[in-house]
Symmetry: C2
Subunit: 253 residues, 2 copies
DNA sequence: GCAAAAGTGTTCTCCATACACCCATGA
DNA sequence: TCATGGGTGTATGGAGAACACTTTTGC
């Protein structure tokens, strides 16, 4: 087991102390928001996670709901703070509210070590019900932003996740299932790609979401039959084979 | 417009006052649970609603989460309190958290009149994020229970809903959509029927959920092909036509 | 026998699958 | 010319829709 190495940086402690002083005035108590941010890179489906302090543990990007803020707006704000993106595709998919989710030993122990003693009545000590959203982003446009509590923002392959705290692993799996269900239904896939893409890239994306191989020729026909793809010029890439067409998502709303 | 007639019953006021005194010690603040209870009766899909005080307005059965209680357990408890049923089919489907949902003029006005002045800082005055569940019940086994705040418990046809408070109408419509999606997927329909039923009853149920007519012969084949129906003896009902078979849901888990 | 509803069989179409085939490209 | 990947055509099978047909029941 990896040794847990806690930073003892005064600035970090001060940041946390300041948050704890102001949080109860700004945010709703007892309710939090967690977001599963999906990206697609190198033919793999990725999830954006935050390193918890200086430990080897990661958590989902999350936050709290301002007292005069709509729930969906809070999720969007939290995402924008973490990615600096506008126009994010966002779906609420689950609310997690078991007592045990907030009590996980490791997390509590780590929190204690990070900021010293935590009075039982303070912000982090309370029980939270967490409303969970998933987001689809073009990872090339994301500018990951860290903040006081977290020392690193990192993309992880959905199949090679690190150790995560709380019930966040469960939440990530639920998000994936929901994404699978939404992918065809809501034409959500194109939010994970850039402006243009080849048919093979699109296929790899579907394969990484459904976690299974698809038949190339039939996939192509199915995508074209949706009537939402615009075929652009061919993309010559120097490879010794036929150049693939580029496509653009052109939904006629 | 119907005149709003408010009861000024001392017992009701006392009940509410007592609740307000103890609630903050027992329940999480800021989070509530609302349930859409579906039943099926006389070939119609029904929803169980509570009359708000002595007004013509209705609300969804709902409640709060105890400080040491799992979210799903809270939903189950609230349902059991209202229906006296065990083993209820329950699905979480949405969490509603817009600021405006708690601020609807009519609701606030009614609450004021019911219990006199409400200090802004009290329990009902706070903002709630509501986690919503839908339940499927055999309505013949339900024993609707009223309580202090509500003067009537009543089944309503999904297409003939009364005026409901807050955003509960929106929640009901979302529940129906989710039920439609789950019906085939999770074989959920049988929770709405008694032990045995005819194919026609099952078809009427599907039609009332999907809100459209289905072709009798093809529906029969589809249901039988699921492999979860056990055919019992015929049901002679005195009508001058062939007697239908009775079926039982016999899922091999 | 007749009307009404229940149950079964048949055809047709659509769509997903499987796979054969040809095309374009650079080494 | 060859290997590699891209694009299109075609046969097949299964599921659902449409509808014809038979069976059962009480009057």
């Amino acid at each position: 087991m990896t040794k847990i190495d806690i930073i003892s940086d005064a600035a970090l402690k001060n940041g946390i102390r300041q948050f704890l002083e102001t949080a109860p005035d700004i945010y709703m108590a007892g309710v939090s928001v967690d977001t599963v941010i999906f990206g697609f890179h190198h033919d793999k489906l990725k999830v954006l996670l935050l390193r918890f302090g200086n430990t080897p543990y990661f958590v989902l990007p999350g936050g709290y709901i301002k007292k005069e803020e709509d729930l969906d707006d809070a999720a969007l704000r939290i995402l924008q703070e973490r990615t600096e993106l506008q126009n994010i595709y966002l779906e609420q998919f689950y609310t997690s509210g078991n007592i045990s989710r907030s009590n996980e030993k490791v997390a509590v122990e780590l929190a204690f070590k990070m900021i010293g003693t935590i009075p039982n009545s303070n912000w982090f000590g309370q029980r939270f019900v967490s409303v969970c959203y998933y987001a689809l982003v073009d990872d090339t446009k994301v500018n990951p932003v860290t903040e006081a509590f977290f020392t690193e923002v990192k993309w992880f392959d959905i199949n090679k996740l690190p150790r995560v705290l709380y019930d966040h692993d469960n939440i990530i799996q639920k998000a994936l299932k929901r994404l699978q269900a939404d992918l065809d239904e809501k034409l959500a896939a194109f939010n994970l790609l850039g402006e243009t893409f080849t048919m093979l890239e699109l296929q790899k994306l579907y394969e990484s979401v459904y976690q299974k191989k698809l038949v190339r020729t039939n996939f192509q026909r199915k995508m074209l039959s949706l009537g939402v793809l615009e075929r652009l010029e061919k993309q010559y890439n120097g490879k010794s084979h036929k150049a693939p067409y580029l496509y653009r998502f052109a939904q006629t709303v």
